[in-house]
Symmetry: C2
Subunit: 101 residues, 2 copies
């Protein structure tokens, strides 16, 4: 029987975690739509292993990756970069990204 849970199903180490923490200033429909699109896009990335997300005042999204190359590709993804720019301009008061092996 499969246990259903929202945890990322990560393999045995080594793998990478990218910790994205943010403070949102605006909540709007565009944000929700963009957020959903980014998750969809994230899931299609090579080397992507899973993600976990929660938000109160602070939002935390941890994504897990097979290797650094996959992370670099995700960072370089044009649609992702556009979303980040918009995020900086419109939604986030502040954010921080950390990569850990």
């Amino acid at each position: 029987m499969k246990k259903i849970e929202p945890f990322a199903n990560t393999p045995k180490p080594p793998y990478y975690a990218v910790i994205f923490t943010s403070i949102k200033i605006e909540k709007d429909e565009r944000y929700s739509a963009m957020s959903e699109r980014m998750i969809e896009l994230l899931k299609s990335q090579e080397g992507f292993l899973g993600f976990e997300s929660a938000r109160e005042e602070l939002g935390i999204t941890v994504s897990y990756w097979k290797d650094e190359e996959s992370i670099q590709k995700w960072k370089a993804n044009i649609e992702h970069q556009e979303a980040q720019k918009l995020g900086k301009k419109v939604w986030y008061r502040s954010y921080k990204i950390r990569e850990r092996l």
Copy 2:
């Protein structure tokens, strides 16, 4: 002027991140009290650098550490272990802990 933000004030790498994700089944006063006490205790640990926390259905707490030894000491802390036992028994349906450098 100091910028006030809820992000952990981590130094330049290397440092460690411990990612604790959990699904809570019960919300009660005892949980809040225990949670506050654990944060207090966490802050007093040697090698502790900061933490970030958010909860929706899934809860994520990321704590940051100077080295593995500090993490091991925190894991071995008796009061922390008691809290973990109670957590497993009473509050959490499920949880997962990951350590990344």
